[in-house]
Symmetry: C2
Subunit: 322 residues, 2 copies
């Protein structure tokens, strides 16, 4: 029997749950919402990190635990919602060593201090791999919540930072080349110590100038396609935001920097569309915000016009089960 | 290096998070709470099920998925809170077979229909074992929330049903004896198709007659000790509530029915203390409610006087990493 892809698995699961009334955000957005009152929705998100598939070589247990929190916080960041509280479900192989548990506790504590949220509960289990499932809870005014489907023709497509660092860094960690590990510290750090754009996400949401938003945890290309599809628009890029070190690394190894930037994952930048009149004001408040393209009326997916060349940006990104 | 027990792991994790302000329920109770307003707390709980350690032989993927939801719902039941929405974090070994994913989806859907709650989101991951982490969210008035520490001397100790079925059923599934599988269908069903006492928990909480409550997922003895410790009281039992089939099964196999009832786990009955004047009224509304003992002033842990014999009920139960 053919193995399912992650998207096929999600389709089977969500088909079982359709027809449920009153789920305002649904399964496709970065977070889920429970209406509490006309002015308040409870925002929730869960994200699971699995040792064998999600932790590259050279990453410590402390870093992995911190990253598990960052992944959940990043989804809140994309919607402009502060996560108030977190829960941790931990699976650990037996025997459970004291040092390892302390490292995990420290990584979790570190992340909660960075993003000013609390861990208020959890569950502990014996597993044959490290499993860290982080659930977050926050509150949002439905009026300021930035959805995926709000992009309108003429809106500016922007990102909160350059891309490709995580995919290049992941290659370096997997290859274990000492030379690269020393030469590209920012690429390695991007994987081992990622940051969620929570402050930026909250500013962008509160501005009312942001028409759609998504985090780039599945890759830039995938995120752009998600916005284009959810909003029934096309996206045309005039530049691909590649980090300088990624250009150098790609040249060193005869790789395509464009590929690294478009189709990597776990980058945790925000991909947003902004009303043209709001862009300059937002750029002053979020200096890393960078215009990369424009939303068009026609549904053609995502394309890029770069250096006189027409590039098709494919709807692929990082996914499990491939 | 010595391996940690589950309680030692929890201690290390929670030590990292103490000193966080404004966590009204803390790590020891069945659920966690986020204060939203004086009249409303957001109640959350996460519970992880791991294939290799939590699914006995003979249990289907559908049953496992349903049980994962039941475990989370049971913690809400103990506090008298209806879980409004659930999130599912799913880890699956590759290749992911369609039939298996459909079975899991059906088990999840089945449980949500039983307990009238919705699945509103989740996460899908590749893992080397089945991992099902279910997070629940509900709302509660802090005044009606039944904590673990409310037991007072003179209160009646009661349970919502008999004990021992799950631990006996688990032994039958592990032994795979066809004879026992046929002879004790209710014991096998107790493991494969457990039920959370949500309706009963909500009635008990709304009555204002319940002074403390806990679910028995770690075993009857452990639950009683948790209430006694949290409430700074002693508990004296005049009976151990053993299911009739468990008595028969224990006799058949020369086991102690008392042991099976006291120290098993994953039973999902509620263990409560009730104000004496409220007991009869509550018994009419929750017919399965059964008096098993009395709360005493002196802190002596949990003891039982049965048939003229004094029995010490140990503070042990089902835990991982043993």
């Amino acid at each position: 029997m053919k193995s399912l892809t992650e998207h096929e698995i999600i389709r089977i699961l969500t088909n079982q749950f359709t027809g449920q009334p009153g789920t305002p955000l649904g399964f496709d957005d970065d977070v889920s919402a429970i209406p509490f009152s006309p002015k308040t929705w409870i925002i929730v998100k869960t994200d699971m990190l699995i040792g064998s598939t999600d932790i590259p070589p050279g990453m410590t247990a402390q870093e992995a635990a911190r990253k598990a929190v960052v992944a959940t916080v990043s989804d809140f960041a994309a919607k402009g919602v502060k996560p108030q509280a977190l829960m941790v479900s931990l699976g650990l192989p037996a025997p459970a060593k004291k040092k390892r548990v302390q490292d995990i506790a420290q990584g979790l504590g570190q992340a909660t201090r960075e993003y000013h949220c609390k861990i208020i509960g959890g569950d502990t289990n014996q597993a044959n791999d490290l499993v860290l499932d982080i659930s977050g809870v926050g509150f949002a005014d439905p009026k300021t919540l930035v959805r995926r489907e709000g992009a309108r023709p003429g809106d500016i497509v922007a990102v909160t930072g350059p891309f490709g660092r995580s995919s290049a860094g992941l290659r370096i960690l997997i290859s274990k080349r000492k030379n690269d590990l020393a030469k590209y510290p920012t690429l390695v750090k991007a994987v081992r110590w990622p940051r969620a754009r929570l402050t930026q996400g909250i500013i962008l949401a509160k501005s009312h100038g942001t028409s759609s938003s998504i985090d780039s945890s599945d890759g830039l290309a995938w995120s752009l396609h998600q916005i284009a599809e959810a909003s029934s628009v096309g996206i045309n890029l005039h530049t691909i935001p590649i980090a300088t070190e990624v250009e150098r690394y790609a040249k060193d190894h005869r790789l395509s920097a464009l590929e690294l930037a478009l189709y990597g994952g776990e980058e945790y930048e925000l991909v947003v569309t902004v009303k043209p009149r709001s862009f300059n004001k937002l750029k002053r408040r979020v200096p890393s915000l960078r215009k990369i393209g424009i939303v068009e009326k026609k549904r053609f997916g995502v394309a890029a016009q770069i250096g006189g060349k027409q590039i098709t940006v494919e709807a692929r990104g990082w996914q499990h089960f491939t």
